[in-house]
């Protein structure tokens, strides 16, 4: 089953095309890597998938349910007439659908005034109205999985970057999303800390978590992802089996891009 699907997505900023007709889907249990030079629109794409940004035209579905349809060359979001970020934020139908996905940011974006535990627990309790004790048990389980059970009562500023990113992953996991997006999860970290994050994500892949990962770690994408897409100038230049695409690219542009990583 397709957990997520996007079709003919288009997005411009001030008349400049950033995404020019991108389509892909993600099946249950699949790990999809998105690679491409910086400025090629990868973050914008993830922001569209997570309703932080709207697309100008195209279609989108979660779990087979159509969230965005294309109507006369413009996208139309379920439950709203207007295309604006404000309208996305106030859209009750979209808020419900948000529980299907999580997003891990490049720079963590933990809430600094809350303890690690509260960072992980608050949304399930406050947004999803789940039982506090149940959520606390679940939050501790995920923190433990991230190797951070002893840091539960610490504040984010007391943790290393790698630890903060693991809290951010636990925070996403605690909402039990069907799919997790990662936007360059190791790019803000010192090189010696990237390994711990990649390992955690690899463990999640082994548990068949459905994930979309934007990354510049080519070896990681090659070994962990099932499929990869290479984005350039707002279009998918090449897509296919991750190992194949990264070790044996077909297109000139992909080859040129990958050469920078060897």
């Amino acid at each position: 089953m397709n957990i997520f699907e996007i079709k003919n997505c288009k997005k411009s900023f001030d008349g400049i095309k950033v995404i020019d007709d991108i389509s892909f889907n993600v099946k249950e249990g699949e790990v999809l890597a998105i690679i491409g030079s910086s400025g090629s629109g990868k973050t914008t794409l993830l922001r569209i998938c997570t309703f932080l940004q709207y697309m100008d035209d195209g279609e989108m579905s979660y779990l087979g349910e159509k969230i965005v349809t294309s109507d006369n060359g413009a996208s139309r979001y379920i439950g709203q007439n207007e295309l604006s970020i404000d309208a996305l934020n106030n859209n009750k139908e979209l808020i419900k659908i948000k529980s299907n996905f999580g997003l891990v940011f490049q720079n963590f974006n933990l809430f600094p005034h809350w303890t690690v535990l509260r960072n992980v627990m608050d949304a399930p309790i406050s947004v999803e109205k789940r039982d506090k004790d149940e959520v606390e048990a679940s939050a501790m389980k995920y923190l433990k999985k991230m190797g951070l059970e002893t840091k539960a009562m610490r504040y984010p500023c007391e943790l290393s970057g790698g630890q903060q990113q693991r809290v951010a992953i636990a925070r996403a996991l605690c909402l039990e999303p069907k799919i997790i997006y990662f936007d360059e999860p190791t790019s803000a970290l010192d090189p010696e800390l990237t390994g711990e994050i990649l390992k955690v994500i690899k463990d999640l892949a082994n548990e068949n978590k459905t994930m979309v990962i934007v990354t510049h770690e080519m070896n990681f994408a090659r070994d962990v992802a099932d499929r990869a897409i290479f984005v350039d100038n707002g279009v998918i230049v090449e897509e296919g089996d991750a190992h194949e695409l990264i070790t044996n690219p077909k297109m000139e542009r992909t080859k040129k891009f990958l050469q920078k990583y060897n």
Binding site: T50, F51, L52, D86, N89, N90, I95, K98, S99, F101, G102, L103, F105, N107, N109, L110, F111, P112, H113, D122, A123, S126, V127, E128, Y155, P156, C157, R171, L175
Partner: protein
Amino acid sequence: MIEFIPKILSGAKATLLIFFMTLIFSLPLGLPICFMRMSKNRFVKGIATVIISILRGTPLMLQLIVWFFGPYYIFGIRLNSDWRILSIIIGFSINYAAYFAEIYRAGIESIPIGQYEAATVLGYTKTKRFFKIIFPQMVKRVLPPVTNEVITLIKDTSLAFVVAYAEMFTMAKQVAAAETTIVPLFVAGLFYYIFNYLVAFILEKIEKSFNYYS
């Protein structure tokens, strides 16, 4: 000599009344004004911008006179004697709310966009996002400039003399003139200084209580 003490004390009481009433009303009132100032609606934002600009751009002394005499000179309304202190509290509260609104706005605007984005993806509504995530962080950021304003307010309370309100400074001046001695003015100065010191001490404690995160 000692007989002026009760007068000074009643003046001190009046000064404290202005100070605390102004804080109680202006600190919360700054928030809706700040929201108006940050509104996406150009009309609402325009009104707030003009009001803030007038309140900050004219002397508070003048504003106090307008609040006190305005109802009579503009509308011909005669108000009873309570209007004196009421108009002072209104004048001070609205003036300080304008300053606090701008401080709050700077505080809110300094919070990284990533905080909004993380909260939005986690499913918080706009209201919850503000009160649970943005507002508490804003409080920490605005405490130092708010402290400055509060200290200024203590000294500003003496401006109530323009509508002949018997606050601390007015009383001290009266006694000094009647008894031809400068001692009451020194006593008043000492009062302001000690009060300032206490307020600064308390606010510093509050600021420190937010040091558990950075």
